[in-house]
């Protein structure tokens, strides 16, 4: 049995540096803070650059369908960088989850997504878990009516993939975003702003019949790779805090030299390294199409989602007053980390799933 590689390949390192370079140039932290006041002008050009210049929109789409044919390992590296820079782009919702949901479909929607000409979002609340009930709206004669709340990626999308209940069960329908009413939500995390989506007899095209497996797979892949975004968030919080405490002086000393803080940061660093292993493992298992995928996903989510929150909370505390300001970006990471903790199920939901997977039931 050969062991999965939990490090980064040269190709993955190259991909990381091109994403990082682009984000350094075009994802200005002050513009990201402005998102919280409703100025979303940076979103479209940034996504266009990532989607088309770097080809990230089609990263996971097979080459014969117009994509780059890369694996979850590469998508994970991209998410680490997007998390690190708080880039407000619909990579996870469109390039990862929508393309996964559509993987087995014919039609030209997936090619449009791969080319970055179109952007899609799965119309489910961001808090939907891969394990529980999937909220769906009723479908009658190819028309959908109903409301889906707290949808991530909907504001950036031109097509919504809506789970609908038909006579034959759950089916996935495509609805043009212009045929839906999308009400922006004042979101805890404005860098991934949610929308409430209302459909009132909206015209819909059936894209996946019998869609439950495809939907669970999309949610599962989303959860597995969200761990890498959480890793990127945590890594930024650690690096930024260590950097700050190396230059901030009080009591005539650099405060990073006080042992109480050194020990907290050592624990955080140990946690971030652990999150790195968990996130990397989930991505590697997905890429290898290993049967362990459900377990690896639950472990990665159960670990990384709490760790990212801890990292962001430590970053705020250890920055002192400046960490509490609107001007310093730490709050963006705290809000993202907390929202990510709830996205696709809390750590507790993933642990509950694990209990079943590893035969540790609560009831006798």
């Amino acid at each position: 049995m050969s062991e999965l590689n939990l490090l980064y390949t040269d190709v993955e390192d190259d991909l990381r540096s091109s994403v990082r370079d682009l984000l350094t140039d075009r994802c200005d932290p002050q513009a990201v803070i402005a998102l919280c006041d409703g100025d979303r002008s940076m979103v479209a050009p940034l996504w266009k650059a990532l989607a088309t210049e770097l080809g990230l929109a089609g990263l996971l789409v097979p080459e014969d369908r117009g994509g780059a044919g890369a694996s979850a390992r590469e998508a994970a590296v991209v998410l680490e960088e997007l998390g690190r820079a708080m880039a407000p782009v619909p990579f996870l919702t469109s390039a990862v989850m929508a393309t996964t949901a559509l993987a087995a479909t014919e039609g030209d929607l997936i090619a449009g997504l791969a080319a970055g000409e179109r952007t899609a979002a799965l119309a489910v609340p961001l808090s939907t878990t891969p394990y529980g009930a999937i909220p769906a709206v009723p479908a009658t004669d190819g028309r959908l009516t109903g409301t889906v709340t707290s949808v991530a990626g909907a504001l950036e999308a031109d097509v919504l993939l809506v789970p609908a209940v038909t006579g034959d069960g759950l089916a996935l329908h495509a609805v043009a975003a212009t045929d839906a009413v999308r009400v922006p939500v004042v979101s805890l995390d404005m860098t991934r702003q949610l929308a409430d989506v209302t459909l009132d007899g909206a015209a819909a095209t059936l894209v996946v019949a019998d869609a439950e497996p495809a939907l669970r797979r999309a949610l599962g892949v989303g959860a597995a790779l969200l761990a890498s975004e959480q890793l990127g968030v945590a890594r930024w919080c650690l690096d930024e805090t260590v950097g700050y405490l190396k230059q901030r002086r009080q009591f005539g000393r650099v405060v990073g030299g006080f042992q109480a803080l050194k020990h907290r940061l050592a624990d955080l660093s140990t946690g971030v390294d652990s999150a790195n292993a968990a996130a990397r493992h989930a991505a590697a298992v997905l890429a290898a199409d290993d049967p362990d995928v459900e377990l690896a996903t639950a472990v990665a989510q159960a670990y990384c989602s709490d760790l990212a929150v801890t990292a962001a909370e430590e970053a705020v505390q250890l920055h002192g007053g400046i960490g509490m300001t609107w001007e310093h970006p730490a709050h963006l990471y705290l809000k993202r980390a907390k929202a990510d903790q709830i996205a696709f199920g809390t750590a507790g939901a993933h642990r509950a799933r694990l209990a079943g997977l590893v035969d540790l039931p609560v009831a006798p």
Binding site: K262, S269, T270, A277, A278, V299, Y303, L354, V362, P364
Partner: protein, 392 residues
């Protein structure tokens, strides 16, 4: 050489050395000579210069063929600390003399580092080694020496120059534990056993050919040992649910009547952490596959100590009334150290040592903070003071 070539080498070896009919020691020596002992060691010293990450492959094939192993748990310090240090700093002659019987388990090793006055501050040690022609004469006292009662050799750090600041005046030796000046006395620990000892060294004579590294270079060599120690303690390859978590999970499965939601929550949290620690260990081993370990092992050891303590504590609560009984307080001097052996009560008590031995968790946090994160070092009042003038 590819992984496939390695597999083939093992198969060829097994074809000519039938584990069922070959005598155990003969088999192990031949395995060493074939370079299949620790494949990342150089040719001629039990290896083939291959990536360390390939070792499990070879071990797996040997185990599957029913081959005897070298009983690694009986020589943890030898395999995990002495061997990599001898490989890195030893002369050809030292490597040839010591590595083979170390690997086969014919010679057990112990570590004579800590002293009553020098624990975390190992560099404060006062055991003296004075040169006498081609030999060194050693006097002093060591303490907490695990397995000294079983060991044939020891890695030893002693002071050779008291006139310079403490880090500069030490030298590293390979000490023969059968020397008449070595007196090993058991020290009983909280488990009831005497796993460690105190060791009195009186005019112990060590030939200069058993000095490892240069005179005065002892601190650098000792640091290399401590780095490998932390990897050895925290970074072993384990299967899922290997080690302490496996025992606690089994206790959960065996005792449905003891299950409560509160224990379940703690168990699952620890299960996740243990699995993540296992993956972190795998990742660390992949990183270290080339090159010598640096401070990265410190983080792994921190996690390992914390999890072992939390898990073994949880296990007692899970067992309830049964946990109120302890198997045996009789003072014995164990043959091997295995944290997961014996009963749950022993495991709980023995795990307390995990955050003390091999560098306390406080010291390891300092190491991670300073050497991984680059934060300022602890204030050192004694750094430039000659050892002999320091407050003891």
């Amino acid at each position: 050489m590819t992984l496939e070539d390695l597999r083939q080498r093992v198969e060829e070896f097994l074809a000519t050395h039938d584990p069922a009919t070959t005598e155990r020691l003969e088999f192990l020596r031949a395995r060493y000579d074939a370079g299949l002992a620790w494949v990342h060691f150089p040719e001629g010293h039990g290896g083939l210069g291959l990536p360390q990450a390939w070792q499990p492959e070879a071990d797996g094939l040997f185990a599957a063929a029913g081959a005897p192993d070298n009983n690694p748990n009986s020589n943890v310090i030898g395999l995990g600390m002495a061997a990599p240090t001898i490989l890195a700093f030893g002369t050809e002659e030292q490597k040839r003399r010591f590595l083979r019987p170390l690997w086969t388990g014919e010679e057990i090793w112990c570590q004579l580092f800590s002293e009553p006055g020098a624990g975390s501050d190992l560099a404060a040690l006062g055991t003296r080694a004075e040169r006498d022609g081609d030999e060194w004469v050693v006097n002093g006292q060591k303490v907490w020496t695990s397995s000294a009662h079983l060991a044939r050799f020891a890695i030893l750090v002693a002071r050779t120059d008291p006139d310079v600041p403490k880090h500069r005046g030490m030298t590293y030796f390979l000490c023969d534990m059968t020397d008449p000046g070595v007196d090993v006395r058991p020290l009983r620990q909280i488990t009831g056993e005497a796993e460690f000892n105190e060791v009195f060294l009186s005019d112990v004579r060590i030939p200069d050919t058993q000095r490892l590294g240069e005179v005065g270079q002892g601190w650098a060599v000792a640091t290399a040992t401590l780095n490998t120690e932390r990897v050895a303690i925290g970074g072993r390859a384990t299967p899922r649910e290997g080690g302490m978590i496996g025992l606690v999970a089994q206790a959960w499965r065996d005792h449905p009547e003891r299950r409560t939601p509160e224990l379940h929550d703690r168990l699952l949290r620890l299960w996740v952490e243990a699995e993540v620690a296992r993956l972190t260990g795998t990742r660390l081993r992949q990183k270290l596959a080339q090159g010598r370990p640096g401070p990265e092992g410190a983080a792994m050891k921190l996690t390992f100590a914390r999890l072992n303590q939390q898990l073994s504590g949880l296990e007692l609560e899970l067992l309830g009334e049964e946990a109120l009984r302890y198997s045996d307080w009789t003072m014995v001097r164990p043959e091997r150290v295995d944290f997961t052996s014996r009963d749950a009560g022993y495991r709980y008590l023995r795990a307390k040592g995990n955050s003390i031995e091999g560098g306390t968790s406080e010291i390891l946090r300092n190491i991670v903070a300073e050497r991984v994160l680059g934060l300022p070092p602890e204030p050192r009042v004694d750094k430039d003071v000659p050892w002999k003038d320091q407050e003891k």
